[in-house]
Each structure stands twice: as structure tokens, then as C-alpha cells.
């Protein structure tokens, strides 16, 4: 072989990827040809440099931070550039409002004797994570009270292809969310789902005044933007995991001690600051630092010249006290009001209902009559709705909601403050 051929093969020769016949040819040639040997030695040396680069471990907080990101995936965090990209924030902040409004209305419709408190936490927790995972992946939950425009804006925002990184990331997220919609490993047929890009990662649920008994054909929001497809796939995917469900059903008969108490914590904090807009920026920095979420700011004018501003914030429980501490450095904290709502009962009630619905679903799935099929669809809709509610609750229970009122010392007079 000529030198040029030899030299072209050196890389493969290094990796043992040449034919045995060529291998011996090259070996012999290298022993006698200084030019080629020089090339060979250069190759070996440069590869050695690369192989000398060590493996690198990620920082200590890597997994913890990753976990936080995974847990908050159904919310969108404040973007670095667009602090006030309000469509996503509305969706995020609204999750909590859904949780609160749902729980309030729900307890009105379930008679206490209709359900037993769910005592077996481990299994219910397991089934909840099963339930909770899909909504987490599919998107956040939007209150039906939400304005139409915000949903459209969410759709637009996620479809936005601006030149900025946020747009790209958003697109990636949508695609990722969209891809997970097209899950087919459940064996159920995936019904037509709107193309991933168009579908915002939201699921709208029907308004809470729908009692569990009656079917309600108009489920506002399910028809919107392909959510129907999303919901359907979710139901299918849950059936792919029979084990936790099985355990859950059995466990309902056992009476085990220890109930996991779930509470939604809410605070109203008044912060007196010298400069409201600066304080707002600082607060948002803080919120991002602690992996929290903010709603849109709503400046309100009170009186002639004094202004106050309210920010809705959601902070993961574990960071609440640190966040509070940091807030104190921004200004004077006045009279925090706290409210803690125990949602354990609602939560457990939903869990029990979910179990019943799933049993019903199983029954109906074995039938073939037309009316049963319709009923099956209705039941599946209910299942999805319930899972969404459960998810909203469990998410809400792990976070603290703060209504932060920023005011200057002229506007901080107690009687002038408008607090919701």
C-alpha cells in the first residue's frame, strides 16, 4: 500500500478497525517508513491528550436541583428574561386557586358518610404519584375561571418561535410534552391528538360545580386545544400500571393508622419598601432563587399618589422560611396573616372516588353496548378530572402561597391597604 493509503487508515488502525490483512501490512510499513511513522506518533500523542481528560462529576446540588425542576414541571418558572410573561404565570398561579376553589366546592357536594378517610398512605401516595405523574408531564391545570385569552396566549407563547432562547426552550418543552402525549405503549389506541406544537401544555378541567353523580356533557376546556386527546391518553396510560391500583383497592378495606395530613398554607405578607418597582425586581429574583413561581403583578392605586402592588407567589415548603428571611432584608414586614387549610379530607375523598371510578371503568370496558360506551367515556373524563384535582391538591400541599403586598410608607397605612 502507498503512504497515502496507509495514513488514511491510521485512525482505524488505532482502534483495531482494519481487516487483519491490512493490519499486518500497516504494521510492517510503519516500521520502515519514517514519514508514516511520524504521522502515526502524532496521532497517538494527540489521542493520548484527549484520553487524559478526566471524567467530571456534576456539582453536589445537581440531583436535588434536578428533582425540584422535575417536581415543578407542571408549573413554568419565571423566565430569566421575561419576568412578566404573564400567560404562563396565570396558569401556574391558577393551579393553587383551582386547588382552593375545588376543595371548597367539593366538600359541599360530598356527604361525609359517602366516603371513608383513606388511611393507607403509602399505597394512596403511590397511586397518586401514578396519577400525578401524567398531569405533571402533560401540563399544568388551568382554572376554568381563567380568561380565554390567557389560554390562547399560552398556546401562542408555546408556539412562539422568537429568536430568543426562551422560545426555543419553550418549543422544546412543548415538543417534549407533545411527545409524551403520543404514548402508545398502553395498548390503547391513541386517539387523534392535535399536533404537539399546537397543543399548549395545559389541561382545562370542568368547573367544580359538577357533582360526581351526574354526567355533564359540556366539559369546558376539554375540547379546547386538543386536551381531550390528552386526557384520553392519560387514562390509557394509567391502565398500564395495574399493580398500584390493585394494591390501592385492596388497601381500602384495611384500616391502617396514621394519616398523612395535607394542608395548604397561605400567607398574606405586607412589606413596606422604599421603592416598589425595585422591590418587585428583588422579590422576583428571590422567587427564582427558591424555585418559586409568581403571578402577574397588579399595581393598584390607592388614594391620590400612593401606590401598592400585590404579587402572588408560590414557594416550595422547604424554602419558605429562607425566603421569608430574605424578604425581611428588602423592607419591613408587617403583620403576616396566615391561613392554613387542612385538605386531607378532600384529598382522601378524591382518592377514594378515583378508585371507584376506575372500578367502574374496568366494568364498562368489558362491555360493548353503545350506551355503556358512552358511559365509559364519561367515566374516563371523570377519572382524568379527578386525577387532575388530586395532582393540583398534592402540588398545592407541598407549596406555600403568599400574597405579597408591597407598599411604601405613605401607602402602608392599615386602613388604606386593599388586601384580598
Amino acid at each position: 500500500m502507498r503512504c497515502q493509503q496507509i495514513q488514511e487508515l491510521l485512525s482505524a488502525y488505532l482502534d483495531g478497525e482494519v481487516e487483519p490483512s491490512q493490519q499486518s501490512q500497516i504494521k510492517v510499513h510503519l516500521e520502515t517508513c519514517p514519514a508514516c511513522r511520524g504521522q502515526w506518533e502524532d496521532l497517538v500523542a494527540s489521542v493520548a491528550l484527549l484520553r487524559g481528560l478526566p471524567e467530571v462529576s456534576p456539582p453536589a446540588f445537581f440531583r436535588e436541583q434536578l428533582r425540584l425542576k422535575l417536581e415543578s414541571r407542571s408549573f413554568s418558572a419565571p423566565r430569566r428574561r421575561s419576568w412578566f410573561g404573564w400567560p404562563r404565570f396565570i396558569a401556574a398561579a391558577a393551579v393553587l386557586m383551582v386547588a382552593l376553589s375545588v376543595t371548597t366546592l367539593w366538600s359541599g357536594y360530598i356527604h361525609p358518610q359517602d366516603f371513608l378517610p383513606w388511611k393507607n398512605d403509602r399505597d394512596s401516595a403511590q397511586s397518586i404519584t401514578v396519577a400525578g405523574r401524567s398531569p405533571e408531564k402533560e401540563g399544568s391545570i388551568v382554572s376554568p375561571g381563567l380568561r380565554q385569552e390567557s389560554l390562547k396566549l399560552e398556546a401562542r407563547a408555546s408556539r412562539e418561535k422568537d429568536g430568543r432562547g426562551d422560545g426555543d426552550v419553550g418549543r422544546q418543552e412543548v415538543n417534549a410534552g407533545g411527545n409524551s402525549l403520543l404514548r402508545e405503549d398502553t395498548g390503547k389506541e391513541a386517539p387523534s391528538v392535535t399536533p404537539p406544537r399546537a397543543a399548549p401544555r395545559l389541561m382545562a378541567f370542568s368547573s367544580p360545580e359538577m357533582p360526581s353523580g351526574e354526567g355533564d356533557k359540556s366539559v369546558p376546556g376539554t375540547s379546547r386545544s386538543g386536551s381531550n386527546g390528552e386526557l384520553r391518553v392519560m387514562a390509557g396510560s394509567q391502565n398500564a400500571l395495574p399493580a398500584p391500583e390493585g394494591k390501592m383497592v385492596q388497601a381500602s378495606d384495611a384500616d391502617l393508622p396514621g394519616t398523612d395530613v395535607k394542608t395548604v398554607k397561605e400567607f398574606i405578607l405586607i412589606l413596606e419598601v422604599p421603592d416598589i418597582s425595585k422591590a418587585r425586581k428583588d422579590v422576583l429574583h428571590l422567587v427564582q432563587k427558591y424555585n418559586g413561581l409568581t403571578g402577574p403583578e397588579e399595581p393598584e392605586v390607592v388614594g391620590q399618589s400612593s401606590v401598592q402592588s400585590t404579587v402572588m407567589i408560590i414557594i416550595p415548603d422547604e424554602f419558605w422560611s429562607k425566603f421569608q428571611e430574605d424578604l425581611k432584608s428588602l423592607g419591613q414586614v408587617k403583620e403576616p396573616q396566615t391561613r392554613s387549610r387542612d385538605i386531607t379530607l378532600e384529598y382522601n375523598g378524591l382518592v377514594k372516588n378515583l378508585a371507584l371510578l376506575k372500578e367502574k371503568e374496568k366494568e364498562l370496558q368489558s362491555s360493548t353496548t353503545g350506551s355503556d360506551l358512552q358511559e365509559l367515556q364519561r367515566v374516563q373524563g371523570e377519572i382524568n378530572k379527578t386525577m387532575g384535582q388530586l395532582h393540583a391538591l398534592s402540588e398545592a400541599a407541598r407549596k406555600t402561597a403568599v400574597e405579597l403586598v408591597l407598599c411604601t410608607n405613605s401607602s402602608c397605612q392599615q386602613d388604606q391597604l386593599q388586601v384580598k
Partner: protein, 198 residues
């Protein structure tokens, strides 16, 4: 590959974040190394690697084990590396200095055989190598990182980068060539031989 990966995967699919954390623990170094060697930047690598695992979590239900988990993981990593580069090109001109920046306190592999001076020298040396790597086009960089740093076979690289084995062979040859040219411009790297103890 760990024998009970499959169990962790199944539990992760069921929503068990603890199980997923353990899965991440087993593979984070591999992913992070590729991310770091590709971006040349510690904090970008961190974001990228986390994004990889988020994607992994989302796509896990679809992983059925036809390919090896590691290969699948590398594939996602490579794709995100490419995306990352595309995104960077759009926004900023990354200066080489910026790219190699190692923030204070960045952990480096500790080698007890070397004196502090030697360690420093070695670190600078490695940074120079990294800079050369970063000057290469992305597909060359990817194939070099996969082969030389992660030690993947041609078949594994082909699967991870979604190219044929033949393409791996020719691309690797050209990539090594290109890398050689980069470092030939920096003679000091050649002069500094050997504490390439591994």
C-alpha cells in the same frame, strides 16, 4: 450497566422520584462529562445535563430496552448538545475564555501523586486541551468525546449519534486530524509529555 436498572426504570415510570434519583446517580457522571467536554463550560454543562435527565424522565415510558440504556442516554445527550450549540449560536458569541471558565471551587479530580504545582500545571494543561476541543466543529467534538473520553465502541457511537458505523470511522479519522492540527499550533502541549498517568 447495573442489573437492576430495569427495576429502577419501572419505578421511575410509575412516578417514583426516589428511584429516578438513584438512576440519575448512577449515570450522572457519564452524562455530565459529555456535557462538560462538549460545552467546555461548567455551568452550561450543569444545565444541559439536567435537561438531559428531564428528557429522560419524560421519555422513560417509551424506553423498552431494545437498545442499551447507556446508549439511549448518550443519544439524548448528543441531541441536546447539538440543540445547545444551535441555541448558543443564535444568541451570543462565546469567547474561548468564557467557554473554559472554571468558577472558583469547581471540583477537579484530585491526584495525590502530584504536588500542588503539578496539579496546577496539569489543570492548565487540560484546559488547553479543552480549548482545542472547543475550537472544533460540533460533530467532530461529539465523536471525539464519545470515543476518546467515554470510550464507546464504533457501534455504540453509531447508535448514539444516529449515524452508520462507516460514518463513525471516517468522521473519527477526520476529527482526530482536525484536533491534531489545533494542537500543533500549541507546541507547548507536545513539549509537556507525560504525567498523563491515568
Amino acid at each position: 450497566m447495573y442489573p437492576d436498572d430495569r427495576e429502577l426504570i419501572d419505578r421511575s415510570v410509575a412516578g417514583d422520584l426516589e428511584a429516578f434519583s438513584e438512576l440519575v446517580r448512577r449515570y450522572e457522571k457519564k452524562v455530565f462529562t459529555v456535557a462538560f467536554r462538549f460545552t467546555g463550560n461548567y455551568s452550561d454543562a450543569c444545565d444541559l445535563a439536567q435537561e438531559v435527565f428531564i428528557r429522560v424522565y419524560q421519555a422513560l415510558p417509551r424506553f423498552r430496552g431494545e437498545a442499551s440504556f447507556t446508549t439511549w442516554l448518550y443519544r439524548i445527550t448528543a441531541n441536546l448538545c447539538r440543540d445547545e450549540l444551535r441555541r448558543q449560536k443564535r444568541h451570543k458569541k462565546t469567547s474561548l475564555d468564557e467557554m473554559v471558565a472554571n468558577p472558583a471551587g469547581t471540583p477537579h479530580p484530585v491526584d495525590e501523586d502530584l504536588s500542588p504545582d503539578d496539579v496546577l500545571e496539569r489543570r492548565e494543561f487540560q484546559e488547553m486541551v479543552q480549548v482545542c476541543l472547543n475550537e472544533l466543529p460540533e460533530e467532530y467534538r461529539l465523536v471525539l468525546v464519545m470515543r476518546e473520553i467515554q470510550g464507546l465502541s464504533y457501534e455504540e457511537i453509531a447508535a448514539a449519534l444516529d449515524i452508520s458505523s462507516g460514518t463513525v470511522k471516517s468522521r473519527l479519522s477526520r476529527a482526530r486530524q482536525a484536533f491534531r492540527q489545533k494542537i500543533s499550533g500549541r507546541q507547548e502541549l507536545f513539549a509537556f509529555r507525560p504525567r498523563l498517568v491515568k
